[in-house]
Amino acid sequence: MKHNLLLRVIAKYLFPVIALFAFYVQFHGDFGPGGGFQAGVILSVAFIFYTLVYGLETAEQIIPPYVLRILASTGVLIYAGTGVVTMLMGGNFLDYDLLSLNPIEGQHIGILVIELGGGITVSAIMLMIFFAFAGRARS
């Protein structure tokens, strides 16, 4: 829909705002509603909006499908890896207290990191699903 002038320009200006809001939600799960899951969905919605307006080809040039696949698995790995790191540090799986000298600080870091992992996975998977549905009709 590149010839649709209004949507093209609006997509251009709204994309950074939606993406920034997604990042805000991602990192402010501690203080207000939000967290990795919601942020992932919002970020993928921003990309879906861009894809709808500019077409799948352009979107795939910006984030190639293999990057999405890598990101999706990276998210899960970050999450599970945090657990493994805490185990290596001598604690239980996902026992964030050990991540820092101060248990509260450790909890904070742990929560931030695993929310990040969740967010990356969710956004990559949602976008991957959308790309799969959108790209199915091409032959």
């Binding site: 649709n4 209004l6 949507l7 609006i10 200006y13």
Partner: protein
């Protein structure tokens, strides 16, 4: 203090009335394209009144900033949605009910 309170009440009450007026409008108007205009009321002035009224209630804080941002984003996104919808209807082949009398006159050249 009570003055600001009263003004904000006035704003919210106006917004409420406008919202109901728009709601009645989408039942009064005969076809899709004219209903778009009725929704336009609720999307612009009604939302603005509500949000300004709420802003006055919260005072200067993060909350009022967020209300302001809702206001700005709504003013970007709701005309876009209306435009997209009208465009879709036009492309989808929905014919508007036009007024016979002025139709030819207004369509292609500027009336003097």
């Amino acid at each position: 203090m009570i003055f600001i309170e009263l003004i904000s009440w006035l704003f919210i009450a106006t917004g409420a009335l406008l919202g109901i007026a728009g709601g009645i409008g989408i039942h009064r108007f005969p076809d899709f394209y004219s209903r778009l205009h009725a929704v336009g009321i609720t999307d612009t002035l009604c939302a603005a009144m509500f949000l300004i009224g709420l802003c006055l209630q919260t005072g200067v804080s993060i909350a009022s900033l967020k209300l302001l941002l809702i206001f700005i984003f709504l003013f970007f996104s709701s005309p876009t949605a209306t435009h997209a919808l009208a465009n879709a209807a036009l492309l989808g082949g929905l014919k508007p009910e036009l007024d016979e009398e002025y139709h030819g006159h207004c369509f292609d050249r500027r009336p003097d």
